[in-house]
Amino acid sequence: MNPSSTSSTREREETGLPMVPEAAEPVEEHKTSTSAVFTIRDLSVYYGGNIALKDVSLDIRPREITAIIGPSGCGKSTFIRCLNRMNDLIPGATVTGEVLYHGQNIYAPDVDPVAVRRRIGMVFQRPNPFPKSVYDNIAFGPRINGFKGNLDELVENSLRAAALWEEVKDKLKKSALNLSGGQQQRLCIARAIAVEPDVILMDEPASALDPIATVRIEDLMQELKKQYAIIIVTHNMQQAARVSERTAFLYTEVDEETSNRWGILVEHGETGLIFTRPKDKRTEDYVSGRFG
């Protein structure tokens, strides 16, 4: 993707953001920690005309884990699906606002959602390996993207990166459906890594897993964040506290008259601060377990 379109430059000036280096490539070490991978401005989502998520503005940094927490139904999945345009697949869903990915608005009319998804990987709540062999699962993304290099090597590296290689190296040709739930989820992570994205979105990736498999996924995330920006949705606050550098708290607002409900971003910041010294009363109540 070419991030230097005139429209995105103008949009950035309007939002008054500091200029970020206009490069889709991971930027050099000394600058990266402040330049955002995602700059999200006034993001709202409607399902068939009903608002589900309202005016979310948030920056996502590279090589960090950002946790999205909040009660069930507050729009966490809706939010994360906006970041790789998966909401396009939901009939009746409309997105307004801006999602700047390295400065380029991924909702600009000339942006191909397919190209967006190649750069921004996603791991789902329920492991969803294809009913194909382990090898073919990993090779799927590279193959459809016309990968020309050494596929065996790429498969091995992806599986190693997902800490799954040792467990499956002898059953690469066997069906991925034979793996355990935790292995399947790591396979899905490996599959996402194989297309070499620079962001990985994870929507409650461990909620269908047992505690041991969960720990393995969390350890894996710590490895992956050295290379990727990771955004993880979780309703498990301990998990958010354990794994993430930054946390965003979403919460459901209710219109008393119409009883319409929508999600808002209450606050976001360093995970430690969100959990120990939240600014907002609702965050405090939520993280101390008073509701949710």
Partner: protein, 289 residues
């Protein structure tokens, strides 16, 4: 609340209801299986008695009275026409199903196609024969192509609707997984949806093939039947196993009737072998577990 184990033991009344219902279902299953069992029994018994190597390799004699001979002409005719009909209706049917499920969805064109394939499933096959007869046989004459055309028309709605049902069963999560990896719609359909639905689609195709292999009425009007062994696709009538079974069974002579039994067994075995083969191929093409 009384939570003692004793109190949760099923009452005598419930036990009896359970037993009666189980027995009722067993009887229903048995009743349903009786006709199937009898058909298989008589075809196998009478068919084996009349079966011989000659039957498989010789054409039908000119009179029903003469013993010996066989249904080679019909075997070849059935093979040609069913193969042609399958080659035409299966790709077309699967493409139509993909259109309906993945692209047309609830649009008017898709609804129209769905409506007509439903109507076509219910149309008596003799009407299909009559249609092909009027439209194509009258100008061009009887032949294998005509018979295959009629069979394809009969197979098409079966393939479409069964394939559509199978495509519907492919979990949305798999499509999402594919899209999230940067696959386009067509890549997702061809590389994820279709392979996942393939075993089920195979079943539907087999059903359609078996149905076509056994069709008689439309072939009378399109292939006509012939005692000659021919592989001509057009220009001359051709025979088929069901046609020969029909002819043999309705004549009063023992030799002809015996051939009809043997022919019925041959047709049954053919469908069975084909089903098994297709299942093995489908199982092979899936990856080892």
């Amino acid at each position: 609340m009384n939570l003692e184990i004793n109190s949760s033991r099923p009452s005598a009344r419930r036990l009896w209801t359970n037993r009666v219902a189980t027995a009722g279902m067993a009887v229903a299953v048995a009743l349903a299986l009786i006709p199937v069992g009898l058909i298989l029994y008589y075809i196998t018994k009478n068919g084996l008695a009349a079966m011989s190597w000659g039957f498989l390799t010789e054409p039908t004699p000119f009179t029903f009275r003469r013993p010996g001979g066989g249904f080679l002409n019909g075997l070849i005719g059935t093979a040609i026409m069913v193969a042609l009909a399958t080659a035409a209706s299966v790709p077309l049917g699967i493409l139509a199903a993909i259109y309906l499920e993945e692209y047309g969805k609830r649009g008017w064109l898709a609804q129209l196609v769905r409506f007509f394939s439903d109507v076509m499933t219910g149309v008596p096959s003799v009407f299909v024969g009559l249609f092909v007869y009027t439209a194509f046989v009258l100008p061009f004459g009887f032949g294998a192509i005509m018979g295959a055309g009629a069979l394809a028309i009969i197979m098409l709605p079966i393939v479409i609707r069964s394939a559509e049902e199978m495509l519907k069963l492919v979990p949305l999560e798999l499509k999402h997984a594919s899209f999230a990896l940067g696959a386009s719609k067509s890549q997702t359909v061809l590389r994820v949806v279709l392979p996942s639905a393939l075993p089920g689609i195979t079943t539907g195709v087999l059903l359609a093939v078996a149905r076509a292999a056994g069709e008689t009425a439309p072939l009378i009007l399109t292939a006509l039947g012939s005692l000659k062994v021919t592989t001509a696709l057009i220009g001359e009538p051709i025979s088929a196993l069901p046609l020969l079974i029909f002819d043999g069974a309705r004549n009063p002579f023992a030799a002809g009737q015996e051939r009809a039994w043997a022919g019925a067994l041959e047709l049954l075995a053919l469908v069975l072998i084909f089903t098994l083969l297709a299942r093995i191929v489908a199982a092979r093409s899936k990856i080892s577990r």
